[in-house]
């Protein structure tokens, strides 16, 4: 699960990491009030940042500075009216604009290949790290945290030296790097990124001081671990979520909305992707990815059918079930039940093999469902049906 920058910063701050203050505003007036506070407390300017879960908001004009409360209100108004990659901006983050001396990248990710938490750091901070990785891979330094002991001080120091940090920043960097791993562990995150981690200059009673601060934060959470973090589940941004997603989650269905016309219902993620691939190969386009999971019962099948039919673009439905834990007859009954109650008539092609497939075949035959023996055949039939339903080519 992705969470917003402001929430990610809260998680970092909870682990004691140096995150400058911020406020979240949902209206230009709230942004103005926040800007007033920060400007009154010594900030020269404020930064206003769109809170959206998609990347590239900077390029899209979603990050701006303002020098006065009035300007903050005006800028926030503009950003709150934007769409970024199709997502309307509903919130902005307001904070004091930092005086940046130097920017770094620091990220902790769960790395599948090494089966470790890997810390990556670069002196090329503040830009898309993927681009750095492509152009100058040697500019990204990495250490693998000890699988049982976590990130050790010396490992963090090696990263610090690699990106050229020294003096007073050395100890702070070690704390921050360990703090990223602590944030991962405390929240079961699979990614915690600070980009930029920056040396910022602040003026205090004794003149200028320079210190490290986390100016941005990106955290993604392990969905499997959310049940043990009820507080984190609350960070899910329902503003940005497809309403169908909540229903899917309720029924333990994996569901992703796509742009095509053929609704898919499959058991198993790999088979669901394969089904989509074969629909494409047969000349169609899937309307969704939908995995009803293992051992699905009739009620889950009904819910899946509702999710698929809620999309007006759907012109045909392909059901592909390879029974293992899942019993084919259960699915067939669910389908029959769902069709009886559905409001919209859509052609459906059903393929059920594996556990209790014979009983399923009998039920489907009696209910006059269109069936298919192989996945390739099912895909071809569904594409054809969708083409007929739209009165033309699929």
């Amino acid at each position: 699960m992705k969470i917003q920058e402001a929430d990610a910063k809260s998680l970092l701050a909870a682990q004691g990491l140096p995150v400058p203050p911020w406020a979240v505003a949902r209206t230009p007036a709230e942004a103005r009030a926040a800007a007033e506070r920060f400007l009154a407390h010594g900030a020269g300017r404020v930064v206003i940042k769109a809170q959206v879960l998609v990347g590239g908001r900077g390029k899209a004009g979603g990050v701006k500075l303002a020098g006065s409360p009035a300007e903050a209100e005006e800028v926030a108004g503009r950003i709150l009216g934007m769409e970024i990659k199709g997502i309307p901006v509903r919130k902005v983050l307001v904070g004091p604009a930092a005086v940046i001396v130097k920017e770094f990248y620091l990220g902790a990710i769960l790395d599948r290949a090494s089966r470790r938490i890997v810390l990556m750091a670069s002196a090329e901070g503040g830009v898309e790290i993927e681009e750095v990785a492509k152009a100058t891979p040697e500019a990204i330094h990495r250490v693998e945290a000890h699988p049982l002991l976590g990130l050790l001080d010396w490992q963090a120091r090696e990263l610090a030296f690699a990106v050229g940090l020294a003096g007073p920043h050395l100890r702070d960097f070690v704390k921050i790097a360990k703090g990223l791993v602590a944030t991962m562990r405390a929240n079961d995150a699979d990614l915690v990124e600070v980009n930029p981690l920056a040396i910022i200059r602040e003026s205090g009673p004794e003149g200028h001081v320079e210190r490290l601060a986390c100016l941005d934060a990106k955290v993604t959470l392990d969905d499997s671990a959310l049940p043990r973090h009820p507080d984190l589940e609350k960070l899910r941004d329902l503003d940005e979520e497809d309403p169908a997603d909540a229903e899917a989650r309720h029924y333990d269905i994996s569901f992703i909305h796509l742009d095509g016309s053929i609704g898919c219902m499959v058991n198993g993620a790999g088979l669901a992707m394969t089904t989509m691939d074969l629909v494409n190969r047969a000349g169609g386009a899937p309307a969704n990815f939908l995995d009803i999971g293992g051992g699905a019962k009739a009620d889950r099948v009904s819910a899946a059918m509702r999710l698929i039919l809620a999309d007006p673009k759907v012109r045909a439905i392909l059901v592909n079930i390879f029974g293992g834990i899942t019993r084919g007859d259960e699915v067939a009954r669910g389908l029959i039940d769902a069709r009886a109650r559905q409001e919209r008539e859509v052609p459906m092609v059903v393929r059920i093999v594996g556990t209790n497939a014979e009983e399923a075949a009998r039920l489907l035959r009696e209910a006059a469902f269109e069936t298919a023996a192989t996945l390739d055949e099912a895909a071809a039939k569904a594409v054809a049906a969708a083409g007929q339903a739209t009165g033309g080519a699929a």
Binding site: S224, I256, L271, M273, N280, G294, F322
Partner: protein, 294 residues
Amino acid sequence: MSILIGRETRLVVQGITGREGEFHSRQMLEYGTRIVAGMTPGKGGLHALENRVPVFNTVAEAVRQTGANTSCIFVPAAGAPDAVLEAIGAGIGTVFCITEGIPALDMLPVVEVVRAAGARLIGPNCPGATSPGQAKVGIIPGSIHREGHVGVVSRSGTLTYEAVQAMTDAGIGQSTCVGIGGDPIIGTTFLDVLQLFAADPETEAIVLIGEIGGSAEEEAAAWAAEHLRGVPMAAFIAGRTAPEGKRMGHAGAIISGGRGTAAEKVTALEAAGIRVAGSPTELPALLREAGYRG
């Protein structure tokens, strides 16, 4: 011969008295797997499955009393990492963890302890393995198999069944079929299984079923290019048309920033001389093209 499991397998099922554990243990017994023990803390002394399997309080006790050498875990996610560690602590050499939904960070220390112990973990969130005619461990339907000499390895569950069924339908039998699981952190990778197949005299050809996300298929391809020249191979990659940046279900398959795409995987496999199918049903034909005569 076969890999991971076979006639010599003496299985202990951890969580045998749970709903899932009992159901699949029955299927395994019917397939002919030697389940020598069950284990559920607090149920030691009982017998499961119509008195056919003695239940113990600890894996250590099961090992002492029955000589179990392999474990299959049907324990809820909260207790599954500990169940793996218990099996390793009791000296079990091969552990299948079927449980899904284990938080990934919980698995980091577990895979390390398994590695340090010189043992092997398959999974978690995996369907298990079948050595047709010998034993099946896990939840793969026994009926889809046929005895033979093709090794199958897959990250997926039902997609594996699809591929295996296609081969069986085409008259091509399997030495061992292994589902390694789709979670981000798993105990045994494609590469590990390829190495086992390479060393197995009964395995004459290999089918690899991958999917988008991660780089395990690429690593396996690179190794195969060097070590499996002459072994007929075919592959399938799911998710060729999956959109970028979307997480496709619990399998952990995700593409982002152009890494781990199906296209990259297909390129890597083909560069290693491995034919890649457009549909699982094409796998038997590709194996034949690759020279498999079994």
